[in-house]
Amino acid sequence: MRVVALVLAVVTGLLVLFGYFIPALAPVQSVLLNWAIILAGTAAVVGVFNLVLVHGNKITKREKGGIYSALLLISLFATFIFGLVLGPDHPNMRLLVEAIIIPVEATLMALLAVTLLYASIRLLRRRTDLMSIVFLLTALLMLAASATLPFGEVGPLSNFVRPWFQHVLALGGARGILIGVALGTLTTGLRVLFGADRPYGGK
């Protein structure tokens, strides 16, 4: 069975890869990618079952935070039933998303701003080295150059320092990191393609 999984994964991976470069294989690639999208959709259903199982266990075993698990399951089933009855495009369903999910996520994002500010303050306590000082000074400089200050913009900061940091230092650094990430992705993908790494049942 493991060999079958390996052969299937390698052959499918090679067909999809070659589909980018050999036009004759493009239709095969398209079919395989469509199958992958359908499988990903099925995985989402299985994932939701997993979520129900984990939180159901928490409730039945009366674990810490079980009340939140109950709340999660009630919300999940209520949304599911409303979605089935009303349909996803119904105004009330859209209201459910726009009035609950989006504000909650926006709140978490606002919380993130405070968390990052606090983390930056703690950074020097945790890691007192040159890079941390440079990191914090750069963050402060960029904040001063980007924020709306009561006395208006500071000319040299917003006209020279910010563009130079953004378009020279940050962009150059980010491109370097992205090249490294791309090379890492390439070799990781090749290892999976060769069957050296098997995240699909390789024992």
């Binding site: 890869l17 470069f21 992958a36 999208i37 499988l39 990903a40 995985a43 989402a44 259903v45 299985v46 994932g47 939701v48 997993n50 984990v54 266990n57 674990e63 810490k64 935070g65 939140y68 999910i101 909650v104 996520e105 978490l108 919380l111 993130l112 968390t115 990052l116 606090y118 983390a119 930056s120 950074l123 945790r126 990191f135 963050a139 650094g173 980010a174 990191i177 090249i179 490294g180 990430v181 090379l183 890492g184 992705t185 390439l186 070799t187 990781t188 993908g189 090749l190 290892r191 999976v192 393609l193 060769f194 050296a196 790494d197 098997r198 995240p199 699909y200 049942g201 390789g202 024992k203």
Partner: protein, 245 residues
């Protein structure tokens, strides 16, 4: 047809095969990454204490260009599961994408079986915590608080919401190693996490933990390709300077 992309992939594949097959006379010398050294220590302490390891794999789908990061994360999860599956509280893997959560279950099971502890594996050890980045982070935070986690690893494609998890880990005095393929998340993790992997170190983590021939070969291939790109960039800049392109 542009031959650059197939040429680069072909060259990488060839080099990877070559370096994977060449038997080294001595073990590979890897640059020290202090964050991974401290992860080793935290893993040991977690097993000794009977506390739990939490591995976050992020929310990228394998069908997107960010799919390489969760693959690297799954590779690392395999090693971590093998090392910590015999702990009193076995590791938990969480993901913000359903197919990654399923693969995490499979990988955990493989790790348990490799450690000879297959009977202790529970499918609920691999979890889907949410379908969006923030809901996934919000779903993982209670695990850090309630399930006796003393070490956590975030490895995959994360957005800046990873900083919320880093903060939650710090509140529990838990060790946290953060690694993402996104540069802005790396900056957030540098500030918020006790340990962060920068750049492509995320893809090197497997070699440090497992150090199989293919992992070290892929590091060598990355180094060779990096030098080729540096030479191409410098060559291009030089040619532009003299007006040849």
């Amino acid at each position: 047809m542009n031959l650059l992309a197939p040429g680069l992939i072909g060259l990488s594949a060839l080099l990877l095969l070559l370096f994977s097959l060449i038997k080294r006379k001595s073990p590979p010398t890897l640059r020290v990454i202090p964050a991974l050294t401290r992860l080793y220590r935290a893993l040991g302490l977690s097993v000794e204490d009977g506390t739990r390891l939490l591995v976050g794999l992020g929310g990228a789908s394998l069908l997107t260009p960010n799919g390489g990061a969760p693959l690297a994360g799954l590779g690392m999860l395999r090693h971590l599961a093998e090392r910590t599956s015999l702990s009193d509280r076995p590791p938990i893997a969480v993901a913000g994408e359903a197919s990654i959560a399923l693969l995490a279950q499979d990988t955990l099971e493989a790790g348990y079986e490799a450690a000879g502890a297959g009977e202790f594996y529970q499918p609920t050890a691999g979890r889907l915590t949410g379908m969006t980045p923030f809901s996934s982070a919000a779903g993982a935070m209670p695990i850090l608080r309630d399930e006796n986690v003393s070490a956590s690893v975030l490895i995959g494609h994360f957005g800046t919401e990873a900083a919320l998890l880093a903060d939650a880990a710090e509140r529990q005095n838990a060790f946290l190693l953060g690694a993402s393929d996104d540069p802005s998340t790396q900056a957030a993790l540098y500030a918020a996490a006790p340990e962060a992997l920068i750049g492509e170190e995320l893809f090197a983590a497997g070699a440090y933990l497992g150090a199989t021939q293919s992992h070290t070969a892929s590091l060598t291939v990355q180094d060779i390709l990096r030098w080729l790109i540096i030479l191409a960039l410098l060559g291009g800049a030089g040619l532009k300077l003299v007006g040849m392109i």
